[in-house]
Symmetry: C2
Subunit: 251 residues, 2 copies
Amino acid sequence: MGSGKPLVGVLGGMGPLATVDFLHKLVEECQADRDQDHVPVLAWNVPQIPDRQKALTETGESPLATLQAAVRLLEAAGATRIVIPCNTAHYWFDALQAASTVPFIHIVDATLTRLRASGRSGERVGLLATRGARDSRLYQDRLDAVGIDSVVSSDEELDSLFTPGCYAVKRGSLIEGGQLLQRAAEQLLARGATRLVLACTEVPVALASIQSPLLEISVDTNRALASACVAYWQGAQPDCIGQASIADPDP
Amino acid sequence: MGSGKPLVGVLGGMGPLATVDFLHKLVEECQADRDQDHVPVLAWNVPQIPDRQKALTETGESPLATLQAAVRLLEAAGATRIVIPCNTAHYWFDALQAASTVPFIHIVDATLTRLRASGRSGERVGLLATRGARDSRLYQDRLDAVGIDSVVSSDEELDSLFTPGCYAVKRGSLIEGGQLLQRAAEQLLARGATRLVLACTEVPVALASIQSPLLEISVDTNRALASACVAYWQGAQPDCIGQASIADPDP
């Protein structure tokens, strides 16, 4: 496994709309003039996965067994990289990577690459994240390690703004979700954040649905992960170009 | 094969953006309050497939071998239905279905279901389709069989409007593509079409990008196919509901 033609395996479904948003950004981030130059991807978008937020607050079953089965499916299908377009599910990243021979791309690594490429010194990052991602310090420790200060939602902000906003997206109420999540973001800005990391992949679709001006100061972790996949594909591409070039770019 | 838990296999990549658009409509068409009630899907979105339009005009290699390999992959991964969110690729539908034990859902069947549900008598359908789909009479014969009159693009309209519009979408120039495709549609209306069938899955994304008023009189074949998948999933769902219900819908 992992030695064949490049194929990005997507461990998705968390939620299904966030996975579609990731796949859309994968097309957008890949500057390509024809179908054949886009990233080859196999997306497992099967949302029948135990709820991650509930698992991390010990009010629901662990999704690990379901995720491990999906990784085996992606491996068997020839994936050469695996990505998870869900920040909260990265709680299980190390366990999933340890049980797989296929290299995973970590969403926080992809986000740090983007943050550092466009960051200014003295910034304070506001993390829009689930309780599980906040409490497992998914972003905070890695930001600390590179000297970036961060601020997170309080318990009350999670209960009254972030979590209801996130579940509104999951039931298709994007505008309601966007308004709640924007208010959660404003609380972080009020506590000194100068920039936002949308550290839950439900957030960018919701903020986009209300054309939130906060998107301008935000790093979209789903887009950062897509960009990392494009970099992988364009670096690994030579043996595929030959196959693709049977079709001419001109109509 | 085909006897496990429901899993919609998507034979995508033709083009990659049309596949993402299909997956997005699959979420939109499924009225669901939580992640776990959405359609489980495995999407092969690998655009390194010989160009379908070129193959049908005998200026390029056939995509059949690549598509057959992808069908085998989706079968092995447990797909219980297979769909192709590309009208032109339906030229190879019968060959692909014949070689597979998994039932396929045909995009024209899905479109006819939608047309007949909302149609009025005496309508004339304008078909926005590739030359290959037009010349293989993908839609015309099936529309004839149910007594629906149709009108198609001329060779000149294909060369000057439809085909350049379609390839503009493939290189990411959605607005340019939308303008060309809208002009192609206007020609069909000028020849008596009272309704449009967007019989190429690149068309709806392009028309949406220019907020075309023609969308109001159009049947979106990608959305029709998504709707058929939702109907399949909701009909086949009982044995999955139990698995999904471990997560409660309330945060």
